[in-house]
Symmetry: C2
Subunit: 152 residues, 2 copies
């Protein structure tokens, strides 16, 4: 019998979509790094800022739901953003369990400096916008199917 062809060997690294996604994440990170250094942000911090630029004064929980992150990740990250004077953390008076995250004026202002970032990423992707949108939608659909399995 012939050996199993490498093209269909399910344990082969190159055949694994998860590794493709995993390594693409790191590649994106490396492209973002120099751009975000100029803003004084890491990539996860940038994601939190994106959430806040859309909708300010939200509880930690809501940020976590949007980014699929928990308080173990967010609490120290938000403290660093607070130390950088980009956000303010205050206990909600209506529900004292919640901590509300609000942008400072500097946090608001940083949005202007961030506007050039997506354009730089698009250029690095070397790909049309419509292709990227199509890929994005496929990946999001896959992610949502995976997340659905976890909740079972």
């Amino acid at each position: 019998m012939a050996r199993k062809s490498s093209a269909v060997d399910p344990l082969r690294l190159d055949n694994q979509i998860c590794f493709a996604v995993y390594s693409a994440t790191h590649a994106f990170n490396r492209v973002y790094k120099p751009l975000l250094d100029r803003l004084g942000l890491t990539y996860p911090q940038y994601l939190v800022m994106l959430v806040l630029w859309e909708h300010d004064d939200v509880p930690v929980k809501e940020i976590g739901e949007k980014l699929f992150l928990d308080s173990g990740t967010l609490t120290p990250l938000l403290k660093r953003l607070e130390a950088a004077h980009l956000v303010k953390r205050t206990r909600s008076s209506e529900d004292e369990r919640q901590v509300l995250i609000a942008l400072t004026p500097q946090g608001h202002a940083l949005k202007e400096k961030a506007r050039s970032v997506p354009q730089s990423i698009l250029a690095a992707s070397d790909c049309s916008v419509s292709e990227l949108v199509a890929m994005k939608d496929e990946i999001v659909a896959l992610r949502d199917r995976l997340n659905a399995v976890i909740g079972e």
Copy 2:
């Protein structure tokens, strides 16, 4: 003038392919977690084992090139795999700068227990193999274009 439509706002979280990829990586990780717990591996450790199951007795450098990871990540990870008796680390006699990583008998044997993992991931993806292969190829192509920009 009308406000910029959210569908084309480049700073909107939902419009960012990088966030799609980033969050899909975490979703994959959460699906892998219970499967890999049974093997006593984390996901990055599983990737190293995939490399070694394909080609044994390789220097750290080569593992790093295949996984896009550096010694700062791999050295402690490989020490943990050695502590788990899955690999052996030995200085090369031809070039004493290199550390060669070889599977132990237990490391080899673990491949059999790992064979069911890809099937479980495929099931969780809830998607045809051909669709996944097409997505994987697109993502790899994007990753390689991003990595090409970094080297400039």
